[in-house]
Symmetry: C2
Subunit: 328 residues, 2 copies
DNA sequence: TTGAAAGCGATACCAC
DNA sequence: GTGGTATCGCTTTCAA
């Protein structure tokens, strides 16, 4: 039935060396003479041997780490998430990790899933579920599993987090619209309890206030979805048609808002997004937006990951990445 | 430094039973008396014990299977992929598997990545890299790793595959356009060597021929991207403005084509997509498209996965799922 | 039903 | 540098 598996012992025997020698040829940091190395590799090749990562991880679970990382994500329907996810997993793979995916829909899942991941001795978890309740975060903290948060931080700052400077993003948007001479502005929120949405709103409002401009009309939503952006713009068209410019908490909302305006209004107000998803550059949208520098975010996540794993002291800090305005 | 890990032995000692008893309480198929079960669970709870999946998998690698599955994906920039991916991983999680992700950009990566996954003793690999060369597929076959292909099959039909009936999809599109009385049609391809694109084209052309309609103008592309759809439509506008209807190999292409038409032409030809990504239902597009029933695809993949794992005989079959036209 | 003991496959520590 | 060997945490025969 099941094929006999080739073990390091088989290779050792075949090559006429000890199992230790085989092990050493496959662990970078160890020293083997070129001669034995050759013999081992030849034998391995002849037998079709590949080291068993499970066994390896079992032995040095505790010391070296298993080589796996849990990646917790949600909201794949928002175009920003897959974009981020793709880059993140590629970076992890390149760094030699193999990502175990935890796709979360409801808040309640995440704790269970992390338990499962932890059972697999993942070295750490990278949590990018933007809309993760504080309660859920707390429970994850109890897990004693090294974590890096992405796109959110925990209130008590007990966990490393990497996120963009959302307030600054809001300010950029405010400046852009204000510089264009617009004064009656609106903000379309994402999830009300979402950190990103809240901070972007704060930055936007604060900057307008600094410039002595009227506070924007704020339209609240329950999510970051296209449809919410669409409906929000409908409300603006109907109840605040005088609005001269709109800042949206994310690109997906902005796409909805743009379409609502195009299809249901003759007026053309500038709509500013936030994220700079690849879609923002589609000719059909050409959305002016505030870019989250995803490559940098990912790079920083990997840096923080290493810090957390090395038990570095100042690891529990939040790193903010500067966004930049992309005018289209 | 590292926290002392709680092992089954600790629990056994604490509960006053043997390690075997602990093991048995945690493996469904085994029998334990209610009394000992209670003691074990109480002890586990008191100590905060969770079985080590690594060790468990190591022991019964070979017999029971590890509980992990490799998921190979690519092209996260095409909105269909994340959509599929999200549902697939959720289904896997629900079935008790934990997906190890392999995000592939180039063809060459995949073999290496699968080797890595295999080292982790994944039970099987689900390969949804639509644009995977035949050569790469062959090399994967040599791996002796149980596989399920998604969205493509291998020519020699040695591997189970689940994909939608793309030819039928093409026929649906042809009928829809022909029923509308249109005769001068065009087809915008995706990756020329992509199976989905080829089959959709074949079905489309075949059906037109059956109905004695002229063969469509075919515009070839190197990928399934929005930009390619946009450029393709530009070419139609410039060189074949008389075209009355367009069928695109996927939704993303159709979005590009629609936008090109909207922005650069006064004419309005029906544009038909293929996939039915969530975006197709956006008010900005309201794309009539041929739906790939993703839920069914995923369900079938899990069925085939079980078959492959049980070493079932007829497992090497291709299952085709019927797509359906969604008129918007 | 239960416990004792033999592995699963690889690594690290210890002598040589 | 190299080879023996205990060990990682769990499961599973085999007797009792």
């Amino acid at each position: 039935m099941s094929v006999k598996r080739i073990t390091s012992i088989d290779v050792a025997r075949y090559a006429g060396v000890s199992p230790s020698a085989v092990s050493r040829t496959y662990t970078a940091q160890h020293k083997v003479s070129a001669a034995t190395r050759q013999k081992v590799l030849a034998a391995a090749d002849a037998l079709g041997y590949h080291p068993n990562a499970l066994a390896r991880a079992l032995v040095n679970s505790g010391r070296q780490g298993s080589g796996t990382v849990a990646v917790v994500m949600s909201e794949f329907d928002n175009p920003f998430q897959p974009y981020l996810f793709s880059l993140l997993t590629q970076a992890l793979q390149q760094a030699g990790y193999i990502p175990m995916l935890i796709n979360v829909t409801a808040d309640c899942d995440i704790h269970t899933s992390l338990l499962q991941a932890q059972a697999w001795q993942v070295e750490a978890a990278i949590i990018s579920a933007g809309s993760l309740s504080q309660a859920a975060t707390e429970r994850c903290l109890e897990l004693q599993l090294p974590m890096v948060l992405m796109g959110r931080e925990d209130r008590q700052k007990k966990v490393t987090a990497v996120l963009s400077d959302n307030r600054y993003a809001g300010r950029l948007a405010a400046d852009y619209l204000a510089d264009a001479g617009l004064t009656r502005l609106a903000f379309i929120s994402g999830r009300q309890d979402g950190q990103a949405s809240q901070e972007r709103q704060q930055g936007f409002c604060a900057r307008l206030q600094e410039r002595a401009l009227p506070a924007p009309l704020v339209i609240l939503n329950q999510d970051y979805a296209y449809q919410s952006g669409y409906r929000a713009m409908q409300r603006i068209i109907r109840h605040a048609p005088h609005a001269e410019g709109v800042f949206c908490a994310c690109d997906a909302l902005a796409f909805g808002a743009l379409d609502a305006q195009r299809l249901e209004d003759h007026r053309r107000r500038p709509v500013i997004g936030c994220d700079d998803t690849p879609m923002a550059n589609w000719q059909g949208y050409r959305l002016t937006t505030v870019r989250q520098p995803v490559e940098q975010l990912v790079k920083q996540v990997l840096i923080n990951l290493k810090q957390v794993l090395s038990g570095c002291a100042g690891a529990a800090a939040t790193v903010r990445i500067q966004p930049e305005l992309v005018v289209r």
